[in-house]
């Protein structure tokens, strides 16, 4: 395979017909930097209808090509149709990379079309670096439960496919650059779609479970003694006008729901104030909090890695410090 034949980096635009998923915009902004480093063009792949105001957002991120796909069988997402669509598009246009949001749908179809092409696929990178010597993208990610960082490349084939978790990169549009629109017609026979949704039962909306945009977060880690110790952290979160979150092991212990897990395998947060109680600071958690303005860490162990990332650190019993904080905040009010 001649890698030089493969040009342009693609971002799959995931949307619900009215709004683009933020992860797709985040990927456009990050891919824009890669394209600048590589001297390649940034292309967005949009399937189906979307209001013009939303399309404008794609352009504002600096996309230079917009591949608009329409056709039968694409009205709803299906792994069968989208796998075939991306296989055909990649064969026709030969992009050097395809980035897909690490959503449930994205994680279902991206590895599958990579397999059909075939090419290499990576998931959950937390950094993307263009290497000018090789012309490859380095997908860098925490591995083995965050104990080490692995650099993954796809050195011999193209495109380089990657799924990336929402919130990993920042959505900071750098401005439109002039964009060429390419209309693409693709029909997928409906009878070849092998899955269908029969019904959907929405979870009862619980605002406390929506922590991605919270301005203050009180996070409890594996130092948590048990479920009985939780009320004080909830109380502290309320006093600070914030929300409660946790690390992966706390979820694994069954103490808090998955939606409150912060980190690589959970939610990425960017609060103004982040208070970590009994959090050890494994890198797969830390990757989810690095954009916090101020990080306060409380841990019994003075050697805990979290103190390496914090703005302020207190060595001590998490419950005791939390109680003192509650008492003093109440005294101020």
């Amino acid at each position: 395979m001649n890698k030089a034949e493969y040009k342009d980096m693609w971002v799959y635009i995931e949307h619900d017909g009215t709004e683009i998923r933020k992860v797709s915009l985040e990927l456009l902004c990050e891919a824009r930097k890669l394209c600048d480093a590589a001297g390649e063009k940034l292309a967005a792949v949009l399937v189906g209808e979307l209001p013009e105001s939303e399309v404008q957002k794609i352009l504002e991120c600096g996309a230079e090509k917009l591949i608009r796909v329409s056709g039968a069988g694409l009205e709803r997402f299906s792994v069968d149709a989208y796998t075939e669509l991306f296989t055909q598009l990649c064969r026709k246009y030969k992009p050097s990379a395809v980035l897909v949001g690490g959503t449930i749908d994205g994680r279902d179809f991206a590895p599958r079309f990579a397999c059909r092409l075939p090419t290499g696929c990576t998931s959950d990178a937390t950094q993307l670096v263009y290497d000018p010597k090789t012309g490859d993208i380095e997908f860098i990610e925490p591995a083995v439960g965050g104990k080490m960082m692995a650099v993954i490349t796809v050195p011999f084939v193209r495109p380089q496919v990657g799924t990336i978790r929402p919130g990993t990169f920042k959505y900071v549009p750098g401005g439109a650059r002039g964009c060429e629109t390419i209309e693409e017609r693709f029909d997928f026979p409906i009878e070849k779609i092998r899955t269908r949704a029969l019904s959907f039962r929405a979870d009862e909306y619980d605002e406390s479970l929506n922590i991605a945009d919270a301005e203050v977060i009180v996070c409890v880690g594996n130092g948590l003694k048990g479920a009985d110790a939780l009320p004080r952290y909830r109380e502290l979160a309320v006093l600070l006008g914030g929300k409660l979150g946790c690390t992966r092991p706390v979820f694994d212990r069954g103490v808090l729901p998955y939606k409150l897990v912060i980190g690589q395998s959970g939610v990425v947060v960017k609060p103004k104030l982040y208070l970590a109680f009994g959090v050890s600071g494994a890198v797969n958690h830390v990757t989810g909090i690095t954009d916090s303005d101020t990080i306060v860490a409380v841990n019994r162990d003075p050697e805990a890695a979290i103190f390496g990332y914090c703005t302020y650190g207190i060595v001590g019993d998490m419950d005791e410090v939390c109680d003192a904080m509650i008492a003093q905040l109440k005294a101020r009010a």
Partner: protein
């Protein structure tokens, strides 16, 4: 409390100089955790100062100065006790051994380890395993210190095969109340050489001296082990299987029992329902958990077959095999979490750690449950079926504290009397502290209790070391023999 003196500013400065600024807490700076252990129902008291010691020399210097000044000293490890043993009920100074947390050396020829007392049990156990050895005592509370384990003669799950902490202490360095440093015991496994001061020190709950170094016996780690879960209809049938299991010549490492209530609570709390509740279409009411060890899979399989036969004969619903590392971890961490679970779901809590003859376990539990119903509290129980050591927790979430204490006292008075009637012991491994003194006295009788008090006086004539514990009365009353 006639002769106890307050800490003077001058003495405080001396103590500060001994350990250094960062390891000394005085007055308001004393952290709240030093006022209690894990059973705060027996009362809290903050010490006047805390010294985080790092060496025998520091302990000696502190004890000497406090002895001269008539200031009480209470030594403390991780504070995971359940009888108020490390609570400084007469005030004074707390000496924490938590920073004496180094494992000093292994003697691989004599199979011993030299360690400081503040090493956590889980750390010692893991480190020994990394050396291919096993430290057999295995109390449920893995974050306790080995110093604390020795002070309480802790037992644990493997006692049925290996014995208790006492059986693994070969030697120690101890500081007497006046600051004298003494070495007790030798790195040999036999002695017939006078009164054993070493064994007097073991289980003395910090009332006779402060342990600052330990030499502990290790054993080669068993090549293979397997745990088996035997679900039964109820606790009586479960316990009834224990003598048969012991007679089957399996040399089990542990035989634990647990009632369904605590298993359900644990599943709800940890989200990890590892023990099956419905077996073969039948609801399990109690479980026996057995661990077998062996040199080879075929040896183990032979033992498992025999256990399977016993299980069938004694009415177990099935014999479930916990073979993989992952499952062992799940099962045993669920077992080890029982106390945490009870603490988490209970507002008011008290406990008994009695030992009764194995054939009376079920009878004792039934009696306790009936008495608890009478008193309007509920109980959770689990423990070591193989040696008759029961952990019975009295709980309430709706009584006022005073009312709870009044009712639990009635319950315990009855239960400890029953225990004495059954020729049992007040405590198997949690000790006496200040919580169980009266029950100890009733159980052993005035003569034995008086002898204990006399021994205390020989070591600690001023009664300064961990006052008011085991057989000592900090108020100087009649019990101060």
């Amino acid at each position: 409390m006639a002769h106890y003196k307050k800490l003077t500013p001058a003495l405080a400065e001396e103590l500060r100089a001994i350990v250094g600024e960062g390891r000394f807490q005085l007055g308001e700076a004393v952290r709240e955790e030093y006022s209690h252990d894990e059973m705060p129902i027996y009362g809290r008291r903050l010490p006047e100062a805390v010294c985080l010691v790092e060496s025998t020399e520091e302990v000696s210097a502190i004890l000497k100065r406090c002895y001269e000044a008539d200031v009480p000293v209470t030594v403390r490890g991780a504070g995971t006790g359940l009888v108020g043993g490390c609570v400084p009920i007469a005030g004074g100074v707390v000496v924490s051994t938590m920073r004496m947390n180094r494992i000093l050396s292994y003697d691989m020829k004599n199979l011993v380890v030299h360690t400081q007392p503040g090493v956590r049990l889980c750390d010692l156990a893991a480190d020994a395993l990394a050396h291919g050895l096993m430290y057999p005592p295995d109390p449920g509370e893995k974050t306790a210190t080995v110093g604390g384990n020795v002070s309480t003669n802790a037992g644990g799950m493997r006692a049925v095969k290996y014995g208790v902490t006492r059986d693994y202490v070969l030697a120690m360095t101890v500081v007497l109340p006046d600051g004298t440093v003494m070495k007790l015991g030798k790195t040999v496994c036999k002695t017939s050489s006078g009164y054993s001061l070493l064994h007097l020190m073991i289980g003395s709950e910090g009332t006779l001296g402060v342990i600052t170094e330990l030499t502990l016996k290790l054993v080669p780690k068993p090549r293979m082990d397997v745990s088996l879960i035997l679900p039964f209809r109820d606790i009586a049938t479960a316990i009834a299987s224990v003598p048969a299991i012991k007679l089957a010549n399996l040399d089990p490492q542990s035989i634990e029992f647990m009632e369904r209530d605590i298993v359900d609570s644990s599943a709800a709390f940890t989200g990890n329902a590892v023990f099956p509740t419905v077996v073969d279409g039948k609801e399990a009411g109690a479980y026996i958990l057995v661990t077998l060890v062996g040199d080879s899979e075929s040896e183990l399989e032979g033992k498992m077959d025999r256990l399977g036969e016993v299980a069938e004969q004694t009415g177990a619903y099935d014999t479930l095999v916990v073979w993989t590392d992952g499952l062992k971890k799940d099962v045993w961490s669920a077992r080890s979490a029982f106390l945490t679970v009870i603490e988490a779901e209970t507002k008011l809590l008290d406990e008994m750690d009695v030992v009764v003859p194995v054939d009376r376990i079920a009878e004792f539990l039934v009696y306790t449950h009936d008495e608890a119903v009478e008193q309007g509290v509920y109980v959770r129980s689990f423990g070591h079926a193989g040696d008759g050591n029961l952990h019975i927790y009295c709980c309430s979430n709706d009584l006022e504290e005073d009312e709870f204490k009044r009712r639990v006292k009635k319950l315990m008075d009855a239960c400890y009397a029953k225990c004495t009637e059954f020729e049992g012991q007040v405590s198997g491994e949690h000790s006496i502290g200040h919580a169980k003194k009266e029950y100890l006295r009733e159980s052993v009788g005035d003569t034995a209790y008086g002898l204990m008090g006399a021994i205390k006086k020989v070591f600690d004539p001023k009664g300064l070391l961990n006052p008011g514990k085991v057989c000592h009365d900090a108020e100087g009353g009649a019990a101060d023999a």
